[in-house]
């Protein structure tokens, strides 16, 4: 099946051209990560991954479990060391974790001993800002995510969606070049998740931020992103997780929920679906070895 790019809306194509001319923020070249297992044999998590991300692009990364997408984002964040290749942020190789790359975790990871406001102030204080300045900026960020009334609450008093909004405000406050999000909405209920997706797009449209977002939800990946990166687990030809394909999403920005019903979306979705869940790996109609344990005559069918 070919990529469904034959009949792209001219407005979308024009936007892609504009995006392609923006400066590169993140460049990943020949990235590999391998570690010795208990027996000392090398296990390869990522193998020869290369891509570039341009300023203010929204990238989502999807792939089946075991494809190394979490490792990829942790390497970019500086939390895991890569063993080959390089990661350049604004042309400079990354050196460990730093405030130029904000990170949002699935588990929120708010500091439970700090109030919501103090959580957002944390990164600002690490930059050497004084208490008053950090406080004023943090309050602005909280109002940006609509939670200024929760400033004095403890993180344990927040709902999951509120926690993740605080985590986003906290990650954005130090002014990172790129926001790394590791399945940030996976633990939320569908309703809250949809609300947060819209929040995130609003935030992205209003500030100078590039986003790299990991998810295992195909609809989330397509609806949010300018481009979707498809990672695949190791196979016969690839010793580690590898970047199979980069799919541009043929939809205009800002996104609306109605776009999900357009042919462009549905074609792209179908293509992505068969990349990630190839038909041969998901046999439909296979029967479980279940046998009858109900009484005769007690039929519900």
């Amino acid at each position: 099946m070919d990529p469904p790019l034959t009949a792209v809306d001219p407005a979308v194509a024009a936007r892609w051209q504009r995006l392609a001319q923006r400066p590169v923020v993140l460049e990943v070249r020949g990235l590999g990560m391998r570690y010795p297992d208990r027996a000392g044999r090398p296990v390869s998590v990522l193998h020869d991954v290369s891509f570039t991300v341009r300023r203010r692009e929204f990238i989502t990364v999807v792939g089946p479990s075991g494809c190394g997408k979490s490792t990829l984002i942790r390497i970019i964040a500086g939390l895991t060391r890569h063993t080959s290749g390089e990661v350049l942020l604004d042309g400079r190789p990354i050196q460990g974790p730093g405030p130029d790359r904000g990170m949002v975790f699935q588990s929120y990871s708010l500091f439970p001993w700090l109030s919501v406001l103090r959580n957002v102030m944390f990164g600002l204080e690490m930059q050497g800002k004084g208490h008053d300045e950090a406080r004023a900026e943090a309050l602005q960020w909280l109002s940006f995510v609509g939670l200024e009334d929760k400033a004095e609450a403890w993180p344990s008093q927040l709902s999951g969606g509120q926690s993740q909004r605080v985590a986003i405000a906290r990650a954005l406050a130090p002014g990172p070049r790129i926001l790394l999000m590791d399945e940030p909405f996976a633990a939320l209920d569908p309703h809250t998740r949809a609300a947060l997706q819209e929040h995130l797009l609003q935030i992205w449209q209003h500030i100078d931020i590039t986003i790299l977002f990991i998810t295992h939800d195909i609809d989330e990946a397509l609806w949010l992103a300018d481009r979707v990166f498809v990672l695949q687990p190791p196979d016969a030809e690839h010793p580690g997780g590898w970047l199979q394909e980069i799919i541009p999403v043929p939809l205009l920005v800002p996104r609306t929920r109605e776009m999900v019903a357009t042919p462009a979306y549905r074609q792209t979705r179908a293509y992505l679906e068969q990349l990630i869940h190839p038909p041969r790996l998901a046999p439909v109609g296979e029967r479980l070895p279940v046998f009858k344990l109900t009484k005769a005559g007690d039929e519900v069918l």
Partner: protein, 313 residues
């Protein structure tokens, strides 16, 4: 019985009731054994010696009492009178209560001996200084070991080795080094709690959520501020609980510590009363230790809730 389900939550009133019962049940058992004459009471306490060689207040085996009665009858004398009694080492609750009261209100039997409250206060100062020294060195060292793997490898194997040496074994050494007064006692409390403390706190620190450390790193925290702004405040509630448990250990080592060199404090008091066979006073001393422990622990628990408001829901 509905309340005793596995993992079944308990309401506030029922919890208070159960709390009270955990003290009242042992007390009821003790009272029953003490006040119901046909429960246990293996001895006979002489109330009237009659014409026997026994004397009033003695506690004798029933066979001895029966022989004395038979002997007196045979010789035509007045048989001795007696009542069932428990051994002298099990005084009744009211006797212990009276002993507790008199222990605190009346002067010691031998003039020059310290009062009960003086002994108790002396014990508390020994515990305090031993434990404070232990905390001042042990807590920072434990946190460093837990946070920095290289520190852990450098320090913990040796501490693990020393930990297995019972603190009392250092008694003779401590006296040789620190003399015979309070210093060796404080040293024993220190030895008894310090090594455990480093290991327990290192373990607590290692349990700290790695994701929070990583979050702080991506927000620009360097190693120094990871320690002071993330790890230390993050583990404080667990560290506080650890210290409460370790304070209990300190009381255990106190009893050994006070018998080293010039014996002193509450354990001296208990031993002294034992020598006088004043077992009601012995119980009073032991219960005093229990009460001090219970009160400090409950006070620290409540203080903890004030100190760490984020741990409350």
């Amino acid at each position: 019985m509905r309340r005793f389900g596995v993992a079944r939550p308990i309401s506030g009133r029922a919890a208070a009731l159960l709390w009270a019962c955990s003290f009242l049940l042992p007390l009821a058992l003790w009272s029953a054994v003490s006040y119901i004459p046909w429960l246990w009471h293996p001895l006979v306490k002489i109330t009237d010696a009659g014409d026997s060689t026994l004397s009033v207040g003695m506690r004798v085996q029933p066979e001895v009492f029966a022989a004395a009665v038979a002997n007196a009858r045979q010789q035509g004398g007045q048989p001795p009178q007696g009542e069932p009694a428990n051994p002298i080492f099990l005084p009744a609750p009211h006797e212990v209560l009276i002993a507790l009261w008199t222990g605190f209100t009346s002067p010691p039997l031998r003039s020059g001996d310290p009062w009960l409250y003086q002994s108790l206060w002396h014990s508390i100062t020994i515990i305090f200084w031993g434990f404070v020294l232990s905390v001042v060195v042990g807590v920072p060292l434990g946190i460093l070991c837990g946070a920095i793997p290289a520190c852990s490898l450098l320090v913990e194997p040796f501490i693990d080795f020393v930990r297995y040496m019972p603190a009392p074994a250092f008694g003779a050494l401590c006296v040789a080094i620190f003399g015979i007064n309070d210093a060796p006692k404080i040293a024993i409390i220190f030895i008894g709690t310090f090594f455990q403390m480093v290991l327990v706190i290192a373990h607590t620190t290692r349990q700290f959520d790695r994701a929070l450390i990583e979050a702080a790193q991506t927000l620009g925290a360097d190693d120094r501020r990871l320690l002071t702004r993330v790890i230390v405040p993050g583990i404080l509630p667990s560290l506080y609980t650890d210290l409460r448990v370790l304070l209990g250990w300190a009381w255990t080592y106190l009893i050994v510590a006070e018998l080293i060199g010039v014996s002193s404090g509450i354990s001296w008091y208990i031993n002294q009363q034992g020598k006088y066979r004043a077992y009601d006073q012995v119980f009073a001393g032991i219960i005093t230790i229990g009460l001090v422990g219970l009160i400090t622990d409950q006070a620290l628990l409540r203080l903890g809730r004030l100190l760490f408001p984020w741990t409350r829901r």
